[in-house]
Structures are given as C-alpha cells and as structure tokens.
C-alpha cells in the first residue's frame, strides 16, 4: 500500500503545484477583475482610455467592463459624486456580489476636489468602503493601471474563499461622514460677510 502511494506521488510530481485553496481563489480573482465603471466626469474619459488599445487594461485581466453591478467585482468611482447621485452609487455597490473591491479614482471621488459646494460629496469614502485611492485631476491611465496592480496585490494578500476578511470590518474606513472642520467653517460664516461690489465711475 505504501509503495503504491509512493509510486503515485512519483507520477504526479511533475506539473503539480501545492497551494492553499484561499491562495488559488485569490489568484483567480485578482487576474479576472470585472470593473463596474461608475464614470461621472472627466476621470471616466481616462478610464475609457485605459481600457482602450493604447494602454490596454486587458493585459491585467480586468478589461471586461460590465454595466450591470451583478456581474462586477470592482467598482471604479471615476469622477465627482453629487448628493443626488450618492444613494444610486450606494445601491449599485450593494447590488454587487461578494467579494468586491472599490477604487476611488481622481481628486473628486477621493475628496470632492475643487468642488467644495453644498451639492458635492466630499469623498465617496465617507459613505462607502474604498480600497485604493488614485490622486490626480484626472489621473493618467498609468496611475489607474498601477492602482489595479496594487489592488491585485491586496487581493492576493487578504483574500479568502468565503470573503471572511470583510466580516471584522464593522467600522467605516474613510474619514468621518461629517467633517469637523465643517462645523468651524459654518460658525465662521455667521454673521455673513460678503464682499460688497464697488462701482468705479471711470470704468
């Protein structure tokens, strides 16, 4: 009996890799990311350029852009998200099956960018778990490719078959939903100080 097992092992030694099931699943997942392009502004153009032939995102196994969240496992938030759009974004995120990851692409998605107004959400990470942030306005395709590579590394390191690595993350990972600086700014605004226009008669 023992001799038989030895003989079998001799036969299968060539061409067989021993690994953990978790690692194999992570390897499969990281090399076949299907992005959900949530492109709301000019970052979306760079996202399209990244997927096009010059930069060719399919070299990294994530070229299959799907416009239904049910078939995606990577949400790329590319562009500013306004307060009317955020419930839609959250709903799409919840519709995506596990395991799923999120890339916040560009200054607006990460922090609101230059749009510090009443309507623009100051960073999607306040209301959504984000894995990778990409700076830039808009970021170059190379930066998005780097983010995908970084995310692949992250998936390989943390992934499990059952997605248990997410179970312990009960707290929001972004900044607080309400910026404490906002309270200070609101106090400073009262009383209202407006620059009064002065008419120049010579003008």
């Amino acid at each position: 009996m023992a001799a038989e097992i030895d003989r079998t092992q001799d036969q299968i030694q060539e061409g067989v890799i021993w690994t953990q099931l978790d690692a194999a699943a992570s390897w499969a997942r990281k090399n076949s990311l299907w992005p959900m392009p949530f492109a709301t502004a000019c970052c979306g153009i760079e996202l399209m350029a990244t997927a096009a032939s010059r930069h060719d995102l399919s070299r990294f196994g994530s070229e299959v852009m799907r416009f239904t969240p049910r078939q995606c496992d990577l949400m790329i938030v590319a562009g500013r998200v306004v307060m009317k759009m955020l419930p839609v974004l959250q709903r799409i995120w919840q519709q995506m099956p596990e395991p799923k990851w999120c890339i916040s692409m560009g200054a607006c998605a990460c922090s609101g960018g230059v749009f510090d107004t009443y309507a623009v959400v100051q960073g999607v990470d306040r209301f959504l778990p984000v894995d990778i942030y990409i700076p830039g306005c808009p970021p170059r395709p190379e930066q998005l490719i780097k983010a995908i590579i970084d995310l692949q590394e992250k998936i390989q390191q943390t992934g499990t078959v059952g997605g248990r690595e997410f179970a312990s993350r009960m707290r929001a990972e972004g900044p607080g939903r309400f910026d404490t600086q906002e309270v200070i700014r609101m106090r400073e605004r009262v009383p209202l100080k407006l620059q009064l226009p002065v008419y120049d008669p010579k003008h």
Binding site: M83, V120, P129, M170, L194
Partner: protein, 173 residues
C-alpha cells in the same frame, strides 16, 4: 456705471411704452440694453400684451437675482424675464422686484410653455413661487431638499446636506 432710468424713444420700445400706459412701469437702460420694470400684479397682463401686441413670441430665460447686502439695493429679489421677437430679433428684458414674505408671481406657462423648466429652476434656486404652473416642484435638487442654494444667505458649502447619508461598511455591504 449705474443704469440710467430713461424712457426710450427708438422703435419698437417707444411704441411698447405707449402701449403699456395703463400699467405702471419704468425703463432702465444699461449699455444700450433696455429693461422694463413692472410690478408683480401687472406682470401677467404686461407679458400677455408683449406677446400678442408686440410680437415677443419667445421666452428665452427666466431667472432671479438676490440683492441681499448689495450696496444701494432696495429690494431683495429681482426676477428677470428675457423676451425675444424671433421675426425681427428684438430682445427685451422684463423684471419684477420682490420682497419677502410675498415671493409669488403668476406663471408664464399659459403664454410660453418654455417657462416650464425655467420657472421650476428659479424656484429651486431662489424659492420664488410661480402660481398656475402645471407641475410645480423642484427641477434639479432632490425634492426633500429644504433650502434655496443661490440665495446669498445660504452658505456655499451647504448646511450639511452633503453629509446626510448612511455609511456603508465592509461587513454590511
């Protein structure tokens, strides 16, 4: 340079001035552009005359201006209508001054259907109410929004509306 208050003598504005004698109105000229200022009560009749008798067949724009803390301003809001005679290309600005709490104007929808979205946007941003509008609600902002953002006493960064959402975490999404 401040606008001058004069009565125009050139055609067709002199004829318009004569035709509107029964309504109290003033004219302002600024860089050659003529603005007709009427009262809120006369607005609908004046606009009706401008359309039927003077051929202003198109309402190009409806918007408002908030003059809070503006130097020398007497009234809080000015609602501005831009009219265009598409046959001869004459443009006319008609404006009405309003003060709180009576921020109500008649809707121009029966005269020009193009007033539909423009009046809704003016309500959305300034809180001017247009009576007689067939579908009067907010146009751009969500319907549960309570402020009027283009008023000068509304802070640019808002009153916390942009933070008013549930937070999704990894474990629960």
């Amino acid at each position: 340079m401040t606008p001058e208050t004069t009565t125009p003598v050139d055609s067709p504005f002199a004829e318009i001035d004569a035709g509107l004698q029964s309504y109290s109105h003033t004219w302002q000229v600024f860089h050659g552009q003529k603005k007709l200022i009427v009262s809120a009560g006369d607005l609908y009749n004046v606009m009706g005359q401008l359309k039927t008798a003077f051929g202003f067949s198109m309402l190009v724009d409806v918007t408002a201006v908030d003059f809070l803390e503006y130097a020398g301003a007497k009234d809080r809001f000015e609602v501005v209508y831009q009219l265009l005679d598409v046959e001869i290309g004459t443009r006319l600005t008609v404006s009405v001054f309003l003060n709180e709490p009576s921020l109500t104007l008649p809707s121009m929808y029966p005269l020009w259907t193009s007033a539909d979205w423009m009046e809704r946007e003016t309500y959305d941003m300034y809180g001017i109410v247009f009576e007689g509008h067939p579908n009067f609600k907010r146009l751009l902002l969500p319907e549960e929004f309570t402020s009027f953002p283009l008023r000068k006493d509304y802070p640019v960064q808002g009153r916390g509306e942009r933070h008013n959402f549930p937070v999704l975490t990894r474990a629960e999404s």
